[in-house]
């Protein structure tokens, strides 16, 4: 066992531990932070395996963008982040399913590649990656921009404040800061709906 193996083991354990913490922590913000650690750990695994470029991409995309987006999403939507946050009460089932899946998949990898001696390879040059991406895989790459477009438009549709459509504005209902739950619900249903949403 070389030093590199030890580092790989350590990084792997760190990643696994934070992944588990992501699932079992009761505070959504903590879960998101643990997720960021787990994603950074995967970047570390890539780094140990000498896939520098992949490690950097993993850091930039997942830790830099996805994890931060999670936090932004939590803040902007004012999702419930306390201890009472959503819990579907299916711990046993979830543990069973994910445990079985883990066992099957790890057995699978060991079964398929347990005896294969992996030679050390120098990773592909970044230039080759670029050529592959923009020559051989140019169609899926371009279609990805459509995926982003659909996601952007969708985000606008789902988040923009609803006013009537085709230029006829709906009557603006002032948002009450504190809605009395016992107040007459018919009086200002729009206002109540707006606050709850």
């Amino acid at each position: 066992m070389t030093g590199l193996d030890l580092v790989l083991l350590g990084v792997g354990l760190l990643t696994a531990a934070s992944a588990v913490m992501t699932v079992i922590s009761r505070n959504l913000v903590h879960a998101a932070l643990f997720l960021a650690v787990a994603l950074a750990g995967i970047a570390g695994v890539f780094l140990v395996l000498r896939a520098d470029f992949l490690a950097l991409v993993q850091l930039v995309v997942y830790v830099g963008a996805v994890a931060v987006l999670f936090l932004f999403g939590l803040m902007l939507t004012r999702a419930p982040i306390g201890r009472e946050a959503l819990d579907s009460q299916h711990r046993g089932l979830a543990l069973g399913v994910s445990g079985t899946l883990f066992a099957v998949l790890s057995w699978l990898i060991v079964d398929a590649f347990g005896n294969v001696r992996v030679e050390e390879v120098a990773g592909p040059r970044i230039g080759d990656l670029g050529i592959a991406l923009f020559r051989d895989w140019v169609l899926p790459f371009e279609v990805l921009s459509m995926l982003l477009l659909a996601a952007l438009v969708g985000a606008i549709v789902l988040s923009r404040r609803e006013d009537g459509e085709s230029g006829e504005p709906e009557p603006v209902v002032p948002i009450a800061l504190a809605v009395d739950p016992d107040a007459d619900p018919d009086a200002a249903p729009d206002a109540a709906g707006e606050v709850r949403a």
């Binding site: 699978l108 899926p140 949403a197």
Partner: protein, 549 residues
Amino acid sequence: MSDLQPGQLAPELLATAAALVLLLLAVSRRRPQLVMLPVGLGSIALGAWMVLGGAVVPGAVVGLLGVAAPLLPVLLPGRPTLQQAWGGGLALAGALVLTGWQLAVALGDGGALGVTGWRGSIAVDGLAGFTRITVYLSALLVIPMGYGYLQERRINRAEVEPLILLAAVGMALLGAANDLVTIVVALEVLSFALYVLAGLARRDRRSQESSLKYFVSGAVASAVLLYGMALLYLATGSLELPAIGAALGSVLVPAALVAVALVLVAVGVAFKVALAPFHLWAPDVYQGAPTSVTALMAAATKAAAFALLLRMALVAFPALGDVWAPALAVLAAASMLYGAVAALVQADLKRILAYSSVTHAGYAAIGVVARSTDGLGATMTYLLTYAVGSLAAFGVVIAVERRRRGEVTLATIRGLGRTSPLLAGILALALLSLAGIPLTAGFVGKLEVFRAGVAAGWTWLVVIGVLSSVVAAGFYLRIAGVMFLEEAPDAAPATGDADEDGDDEDARLPVLSTGLSAATALSAALVLVVGLQPALLLELAAQASVLVR
């Protein structure tokens, strides 16, 4: 390997460009000509250049759309959503023409059906062409069907048409995708657009529920599919379906890895096509989504997802046919029986149609299980006939829903045959087609699928199919009986007179706007034409049963 040929993706390019132009049009609300004039002039120039270059039909389509673009704001001033609807419809009609032109060139002299393009990313073959026809036709019919309905529910936002166009492009690309990366990307494009469309009605809790359920189940299915594809790549070392198929034929691949990959891919795809144990999302999603979106999901998404299933099964996994065919046959049988029985106890029309779509996924899967060229053609035919039949049915549901301002249940349509015989007649025709009664399109599709199944030796499966058809005919006939034999309720719950062209002489008459009635009548006419003159469609399907392997 050929170089990049934009012509192979002409319909998709057109629809994508139209989606972008419509988004720009939505942004430039006050000054539409700022967008439409340059777009129109550019398209006319491009079309002229293409015509001069020898591509007459696509050049003419682009040029005509270029002429139409600046005319839209002139002819329909002050009605932005109507401009959007017309723009989307014209673009889809153009895409349909381009698809027909592509097929005609490929099937004609000197053409080739069954080549790969874009460095192996897409396959230009019969399956791709047929999927395009089904998808673009469905989307083209859905836009006018949904226009007035979305308008009345005040959810006809400017983004609806671009999203429908993007979804259609994703579906068409899924039909043509020939490697794992393109498959995943196309699948996500169509799914994202549909997640948003399902949740358009933001104040309707059912719509929100539908969108969320669709998103969660769709994301899980995508994840499972993706994991299976990763294992597949691990086992074969290739991302392109024909190469995967060739590698799986050799004995060098690790068996356990391939087995798990096959299971994961099969589960993911079965989720997407809503085969029986993996259909649980379908009824809630279909019921909650705005009805025109439901129609798009039922007709077009099913065709695209089945194109994926066909291509994975016949191109990537032919060597494992003896493994997956019996499993898929069991799923198909379960779908046919469960969908038919479950629909019997439903009262909501959209839920009934959702369960019926599960049943129809089972029928269409018979053609996949057959593993033959006939089976391929049969499934493609079946999907097209199912699309027109379900579109006609959903069109009537929209019409009734617009008048009643609420869910359409069996009680709502009681006596519809007396109050509005034409509408009830169209619904009855659509249901007969879904049940597979002769002289309708559904019969043609069902006959083809059953024939292919028997020819491939799957007699027990076909027997179950016939059995399920009988049960299904029961609930279709029940709907027809409710419409024609029972009296309409006395107190018609008609509220609200703000319908755009509703004369309220008889408040129980469902509202029919021009677009809705034209689209519904066209679907019903297609059901009849295909049912009475199936030769043309069958000939096309026989010639187009070509797969790039």
